[in-house]
Subunit: 308 residues, 2 copies
């Protein structure tokens, strides 16, 4: 059984920890969004990669889902004293990852290589791949200004109304080594319950990845990040409305229909099974809210049982 | 009254805090050794500058004399988990300085400019200048190998026997802006009780600085870092012996005699007053051991009273 997952941040990481609990080492590969990577005081920060790695390593902060459990903010406090912007919360332990990654990248390692080192040294047996080794910052066009993603998401707290997205430089980016293989040679590909515009969207926009999803013989599943019209976390539902779409699971399914086999929506959205099925997809309604470790395992188990 | 001090790390910083306590804002300028600056995981670290700044800001660790009081090591611990070398103790609060400085240097600021920013934002009114904006790493030639200074000092704990020193690139380095002025236009210049080879030596080796000390009309004083044949801190005395010199205050005085007016040695070395006087210097024997804040003020007061 070879499974490959496409992942954003917190929601994805929760499902991945469930899948990692049920699959054997070597069975799971994760392709992670890097569109919201950014630089802070020269440090190269990859929020989604770190969330996935910390969660799989069992050190993620259980409350927020991101950052490291019980981390302190001593360095950030002093950076604030030095009059640096500190709207992005960087814990002291978390900083080690950014210092290490930034240094290795400057030494010429690829993001793929650095991520592999971090995983190995964190005791993670899941293969975690960035979607690309190129820098492809997601820009959010809003009614006020165009913002880099973290600027929109953290500093502006998603306040401006979204008009569209741009994955800067994506046309010339290549999938990271192993990414296309992982899609083409999987038995199943899962799109985690992540934001379709700013988490899964950038991954699908890397040249070759969407084609690989269309071409693979793997069963391709997606789990809706929208439950009862709302995003469990983050701005996905608000973005849909601001873009003139309905904020519902059907909107997500429509975005993936060209390569999707199975759409998994929440049992609270049973009424959408018909509409999604009419897109030509197999639909399952299950419990998708992962509010406990056992709920993560339960959803992972549900997905595995949907496979032939 | 304009006073300029030449400074290494901990010993210098203690005297400087005494002087800063007695002089008015604007009266004291410090020129700091940067020969032991080094890079760690891409971070640009200036141990002597930081020790001086932390001490003057009142945040230095009172036990070690370096680093920030009550700092934690969470980031370093995780860097160790990531299999990075961690022989240089970097506290979480301390790291903020290195991250900030490294970033500003990469943005094109000079070390002088960054140091000024750090001082301003730390509430320090003393002018703190690096000796140069160029990188001039001190190399320690030993009986085993040639080591960068921190490698010799921290990682190897001064174990190899010293054969000589090299201030790499010093021939083409320039004094930092303000340095020559501060020497030429001072009423008094004080060489702090710092290691003559690896703290004061690099400063004197920057082209133009020794000439300025010879040319200035300021009274030039030096405080011996050797008391009763021993260095109060660090390897100065051992270095002297390994280089075939006597480990005593007289050896220090001899290194500075071409530009020195007054040599200050410890009252425990009263017997050396004659030998040092015969070098053509005015000599004072006072209490130089700064084992308390009041002792710092007392030594500073002694020095000020020696001035005409």
């Amino acid at each position: 059984m070879k499974m490959t997952a496409l992942a954003g941040g917190v929601g994805a990481a929760r499902l991945l920890s469930g899948l990692a609990g049920l699959l054997s080492p070597g069975e799971l590969t994760v392709i992670v969004n890097t569109g919201d990577d950014f630089r802070y005081l020269g440090l190269y920060i990859c929020p989604d990669l770190d969330t996935v790695v910390y969660t799989l390593a069992g050190v993620a902060d259980p409350k927020t889902g991101w950052g490291i459990r019980a981390d302190t903010l001593h360095c950030l406090k002093r950076l604030s004293d030095l009059q640096c912007e500190t709207w992005f919360r960087l814990g002291d332990r978390d900083l080690a990852t950014h210092i290490f990654r930034t240094h290795r990248l400057r030494c010429g390692d690829s993001l793929t290589g650095v991520t592999r080192m971090i995983c190995l040294r964190s005791g993670i047996q899941v293969a975690v791949l960035p979607m690309t080794d190129s820098e492809v910052p997601t820009l959010v066009h809003t009614d006020e200004e165009t913002l880099e993603f973290q600027d929109y998401f953290v500093r502006r707290q998603c306040a401006p109304h979204v008009r569209g997205f741009q994955y800067l430089g994506i046309e010339t980016a290549c999938p990271a080594p192993g990414v296309l293989d992982a899609i083409l040679n999987a038995d199943a590909v899962v799109l985690c319950p992540s934001n379709p515009y700013v988490s899964i969207g950038p991954i699908l926009a890397v040249p070759g990845i969407r084609d690989a999803l269309r071409a693979t013989r793997a069963v391709v599943l997606a789990v809706s990040p929208i439950v009862a019209g709302k995003a469990l976390k983050g701005p996905a539902a608000a973005m849909m409305r601001q873009l003139g779409e309905q904020s519902c699971a059907t909107t997500v399914a429509r975005l993936y229909r060209d390569f999707l086999d199975i759409f998994v929506l929440d049992r609270r959205d049973e009424s959408l099974v018909g509409p999604v099925r009419s897109l030509g997809l197999t639909v399952h309604a299950v419990e998708t809210v992962m509010d406990s470790p056992s709920a993560r395992l339960a959803l992972a188990g549900s997905l595995l049982r949907m496979l032939p």
